[in-house]
């Protein structure tokens, strides 16, 4: 996803000279063919400045992208994002890499399991968690065309392409259709657990890349009996919580328990440890739907 988004940015930058990229000293190998452009700056390690600088350039008419590891995009400079970008209604695109526990081996400082909670406190910030490179590019293009501030949280690079057809990221995108009365809604890169889930239980599965669209969830979910959400984020305050607030439907939420992670391991190890890998989720859904 990371390289797909970066390549899209570089492609658009050739036509749109107002587009400007700020890297918070991140992106080695990503921006190497772009980092001498007048449309790029790496101001160093200073996240408050990065965001304030982005706001200043946006106030002068630039479409600005601030790229960094997710904790340094939304958490460290939170008040700058709130005051300078969101309150001032500036069309800055925040791109955070290493969503969820992608960078789990790097430890607490480098993974981000509470960013949706934080981002969702800002009323005009569009939030995206794409699941594959196709969704990632579509999310970026939506944000680029928008006049609102946006936050795109992407995992890493090298994810499988899920979608072969054109997609609309403002709506749930079916990954698997079933005759089952139940549905599982996924937000972000946890979509790569789908095949393991389907080995255990058959149900409809959708990816929901955009958290903040005006989609009518009440009507959509009324067509299903049980609805489940799965995300690589704290279970309280993330996608499932926000979806519950958007409709009256009972939602069964799966996600990371809201507690600090001291366990050491990579993403797949921690998904298993915290019970959000496909096999465990499949078993849990199977139990609930049988009952």
């Amino acid at each position: 996803m990371r390289n797909s988004v970066a390549n899209e940015i570089k492609k658009i930058a050739k036509q749109d000279k107002s587009l400007f990229v700020i890297s918070g000293d991140a992106g080695l190998g990503v921006w190497d063919d772009f980092n001498t452009s007048e449309q790029f700056i790496n101001p160093g390690v200073n996240e408050q400045l990065d965001v304030g600088f982005a706001a200043g350039m946006a106030l002068m008419g630039h479409k600005v992208i601030y790229y960094n590891i997710a904790p340094f995009v939304i958490m460290r400079p939170y008040e700058f994002v709130r005051n300078d970008i969101c309150y001032q209604e500036l069309p800055v695109i925040l791109v955070g890499t290493g969503s969820g526990i992608t960078y789990a081996p790097a430890g607490m400082t480098h993974y981000v399991v509470e960013d949706i909670t934080l981002a969702s406190t800002m009323p005009n910030l569009d939030i995206f968690s794409p699941a594959d490179p196709v969704e990632a590019v579509a999310c970026f293009n939506y944000a680029y065309a928008s006049k609102k501030p946006s936050y795109i949280r992407i995992a890493k690079n090298g994810e499988d392409v899920i979608h072969k057809e054109e997609i609309d990221i403002t709506k749930p995108i079916f990954i698997h259709r079933s005759s089952s009365k139940h549905i599982l809604l996924l937000h972000g890169s946890i979509v790569d657990e789908v095949s393991k889930i389907l080995e255990i239980v058959d149900l409809n599965i959708v990816s929901v890349p955009m958290l903040t669209s005006d989609f009518d969830w009440e009507e959509f979910l009324s067509a299903f009996d049980k609805a489940f959400t799965l995300e690589e984020h704290f279970i309280n305050g993330g996608f499932g919580t926000i979806l519950k607030d958007k409709c009256d439907k009972k939602i069964h939420k799966f996600g990371l328990k809201n507690e600090y992670i001291h366990k050491i391991g990579n993403r797949d190890y921690l998904r298993k440890y915290y019970g959000i890998d496909g096999k465990i989720i499949g078993q849990k859904i199977e139990e609930i739907t049988k009952g």
Partner: protein, 263 residues
């Protein structure tokens, strides 16, 4: 010019009294700097190509509102809606309230990073527009100020001028005692800024400092007196908070007018 500054101070006292809001000392402290900027420096006639002024120490917003009104860019009605229920202008700035209020501010340490981005954008466009920022001295304790201070010279932002309203009184005491920023001139010089130091109530000195040519970003340290112009407010910490009652306003305006008559 002195009459202009007196009028601005009178406007400040007027709206502070209507609102019964704090920060009168901070607003009076920077009134001369704003007078010079808005009446001698800023190009504001061609809006699309206007110079930019950012009030980073936005708790002095009354001074900006009073100056914009004096300059004919803010109506009396809007100025008097400051800090009122259902009013027009907040205690700290909101850029959506007036086209000449460039940023929403109030949390210290935001103005310089934003101004750095603006100045860089203007340099890329080869624009002749200038960017000016007014910071408080206590504000220089914010880390984000130094982040931007490192970057601006690297980007050769000779279109960026920063004023520090150096009145040496912050929220809870003297900045020089709480966490001293001094020697602030040497610190900014070490960061490769052009640094000038002036009497922040001397209009000609401020103007001369702005006119000084340099190819570096410029820092003008303005030595000022908090509460300047009203003797019983001058250099008194408590006027960071005290409100301007009818009695206080009457005494303060009388002083301003007497002082003006003497000149």
């Amino acid at each position: 010019m002195k009459e202009t500054a007196t009028n601005i101070r009178r406007n400040i006292l007027h709206i502070a009294n209507l609102a019964l809001s704090p920060h009168i000392g901070s607003a009076l402290s920077c009134s001369d700097i704003l007078s010079v900027l808005y009446f001698k420096i800023l190009q504001l006639d061609d809006y699309e190509n206007r110079d930019i002024f950012i009030l980073s120490k936005a708790h002095s917003a009354m001074a900006l509102y009073a100056t914009l009104h004096e300059r004919g860019l803010l109506s009396k009605e809007d100025m008097e809606g400051y800090y009122q229920n259902g009013g027009t202008l907040p205690a700290h700035t909101d850029r959506l309230t007036n086209p000449y209020i460039e940023i929403s501010a109030g949390s210290l340490g935001h103005g310089l990073p934003i101004a750095t981005g603006m100045a860089h954008a203007l340099k890329l466009k080869k624009s002749k527009r200038e960017v000016y920022v007014l910071m408080g001295d206590g504000e220089s304790q914010e880390g984000s100020v130094w982040e931007a201070a490192m970057l601006a010279p690297k980007l050769e932002l000779d279109n960026l001028t920063v004023f520090i309203d150096r009145n040496d009184l912050q929220g809870y005491g003297r900045a020089s005692e709480l966490l001293s920023y001094e020697p602030i001139d040497k610190k900014f010089e070490a960061f490769n800024w052009e640094v000038l130091r002036v009497d922040g109530h001397n209009h000609q000195a401020i103007k001369n400092a702005v006119d000084f040519k340099t190819d570096k970003p410029k820092m003008i340290i303005c030595d000022t007196i908090k509460g300047k112009g009203v003797s019983f407010m001058e250099d008194e910490l408590i006027w960071h908070y005290f409100i301007v009652t009818d009695d206080v306003k009457e005494r303060a305006v009388r002083e301003l007018e007497e002082s003006s008559d003497e000149k």
